[in-house]
């Protein structure tokens, strides 16, 4: 169904969308275009001269082993964050969907962490898990675990995944809860009468009926893990120890702003841009069709 508004003047509709268009053009298209142009340029070490080098930045980038390590690491982080936060959020949502006393209260509490800014999340987790400051670190060490994410790359990666996933749980929880509540209660009741025990009911009824939500959230979470974990990484590990927590986005930042290699940094951001476009394309293509029941 399409609604058609009728305007007296031909200019009015354009005037109405102009502010939004201006914002998108100035803050999105223009920097994106800048990045594309920048990715074809090479500057000398002092920024005195700039030359047009075609695809040299890209060729250089793809030859760099560290870049591929970052690609693999980013994908690993993304899937680890997405899957852990999705499954935990789903578990919480299924629990919170049950008719219990005070459910509104803890539903609200479960949604709150979403309002916390990523760098604050980083700080929160540092307080808990910093090798010398952290509360939990002390217990870990007392339990005989050699806990030091500042030196151990794997532990640092685990820390990033943990805090990034934690932050995303609220968002996923909200969608799962809405998705669960959109399923008529009588469907679950029918399944109960049909002899399906709770676990079987979950896997044969709840899970398939939530699959559109799950797919939507999977894409959203991967995009989140790709881009929005920057704040967490920057506050917690700054990419270290070594390069063990350098993701693609963090590499754009560290190569460009810290390393001064603007050409390569721009090329990396163009690659990232293409990835987002592909992910969004998948999202639009499949959410509408395959996953609906």
């Amino acid at each position: 169904m399409q609604k058609q508004a009728i305007f007296q003047s031909k200019l009015l509709p354009y005037a109405l969308v102009a502010p939004q268009l201006a914002i998108v053009l100035i803050f999105f298209y223009w920097p994106a275009l800048q990045a594309v142009i920048q990715s074809f340029l090479l500057q000398d070490a002092f920024g005195l001269s700039t030359s047009f080098v075609w695809f040299e930045n890209y060729i250089e980038l793809f030859r760099e082993p560290a870049y591929f390590e970052a690609v693999v690491r980013t994908f690993f982080f993304s899937f680890a964050i997405a899957i852990s936060s999705l499954s935990f959020a789903l578990l919480l949502a299924v629990m919170a969907d049950k008719p219990l006393r005070g459910s509104m209260l803890y539903r609200t509490l479960l949604i709150w962490p979403y309002a916390v800014a990523p760098p604050v999340v980083g700080v929160l987790w540092i307080f808990m898990l910093h090798p010398s400051l952290g509360v939990i670190s002390r217990y870990l060490r007392a339990a005989g675990v050699d806990w030091n994410p500042l030196l151990d790359g794997n532990q640092a990666a685990g820390l990033i995944i943990l805090s990034a996933a934690w932050k995303q749980i609220s968002y996923n929880f909200l969608f799962f809860l809405a998705g669960l509540q959109a399923i008529p209660k009588s469907v679950f009741e029918a399944a109960a009468i049909d002899g399906a025990r709770p676990m079987r009911r979950f896997w044969t009824v709840t899970f398939p009926l939530l699959s559109p939500t799950i797919f939507f959230l999977l894409v959203i979470n991967i995009v989140y893990a790709f881009f929005d974990t920057f704040g967490i990484i920057d506050t917690m590990t700054r990419g270290g120890p070594g390069t063990s927590t350098v993701t693609l986005v963090y590499k754009v930042y560290s190569d460009g702003l810290l390393g001064g290699n603007l050409g390569s940094s721009a090329a990396q951001s163009v690659v990232l841009m293409i990835m987002v476009i592909v992910l969004t394309g998948i999202q639009f293509r499949f959410v509408e069709r395959k996953v609906t029941y």
Binding site: E189, A191, A192, I193, D194, G195, A196, R197
Partner: protein, 361 residues
Amino acid sequence: MANVTLRNVRKTYTGGFEAIKGVNVDVADGQFCVLVGPSGCGKSTLLRMVAGLETVTGGEIDIGGRVVNQIEPADRDIAMVFQNYALYPHMSVYNNMAYGLRNRGMAEAEIKTRVAEAARVLELSAMLERKPRQLSGGQRQRVAMGRAIVRQPKVFLFDEPLSNLDAKLRIAMRVEIRKLQRRLNTTSIYVTHDQLEAMTLADVLVVMNGGQVEQVGNPLAIYEKPATTFVASFIGAPPMNLMSTRPDEIKSQLGGSATEADIVGIRPEDFVITDQAPAGGVALPLTVEAIERVGAETFVYGSREQEDQRVAATPGELPPGEIIVRIPGTDAPAIGQKIRVAAVRPKLHLFSADGRTRIEA
């Protein structure tokens, strides 16, 4: 095959609200029991308690000689048809019907035979591979029925299964459900707010109001001898005319043992337009207010001179002082005309002042 017995069944919610206030009903093996009542009377709650979807806070529910109060819905050997059908949207028609059988570990071959048989009976054979969203309302309803019958349970429970269908389909499905139940001879409990559905389907009719049973019995017996004014006005359409005998001429017409009655009820079809007052019966002068001709019969809405004749607290739609008369054919008096209507003594229903007791004259 089983009988269902409810013994003093109660439901009190945690807030203290008493939804079911002690219900006793006995449904014999193979009988079709209909729970009818206005919305909020507790009939759905009671059905859901039999299904095991609501806890029982008092009394006993007995299915086939076994008290099921603490037994899971899956183990009560019942099948339920929901108002919104509650089909599994992601499963095909076949899988919707097979789901309950698979959960019970039945062999695929046996499942296939049972589903095929149910589909044949319900004329769904051509659409076994379809998803519920590709079906019409009536077809979905039949799938819901199919899901119930493949299980071959002891008891069928129906929660207003026809209220989402259009009027024509509703009548067709009503007949289908009755035929199917007769053929399978499975004990059934059916909830509806539609008194016509209740009358046509029931072997045993249970009229409920405010969490209590008002009357139990054969539908025609209830129609002919309603025990309370609530039942009198709820069963029958258009509703029975209920009038107070106190302030006007009705009481003097009644005489005899009927003098202790404070409310008199007369069904619209029991009135005759006539100037002759029948002995022991009731005659009333009316001014014709409106006429409804529906073909085979005509409804005459008239007002009486005196106000306050109508008894309150009934689900009837009539304003006080208004009387419905149902006459055959299309010949009717003109609007504004003054007429006299009369009903003979055997057609009068007499009740005590609170409407809770029927008085046999």
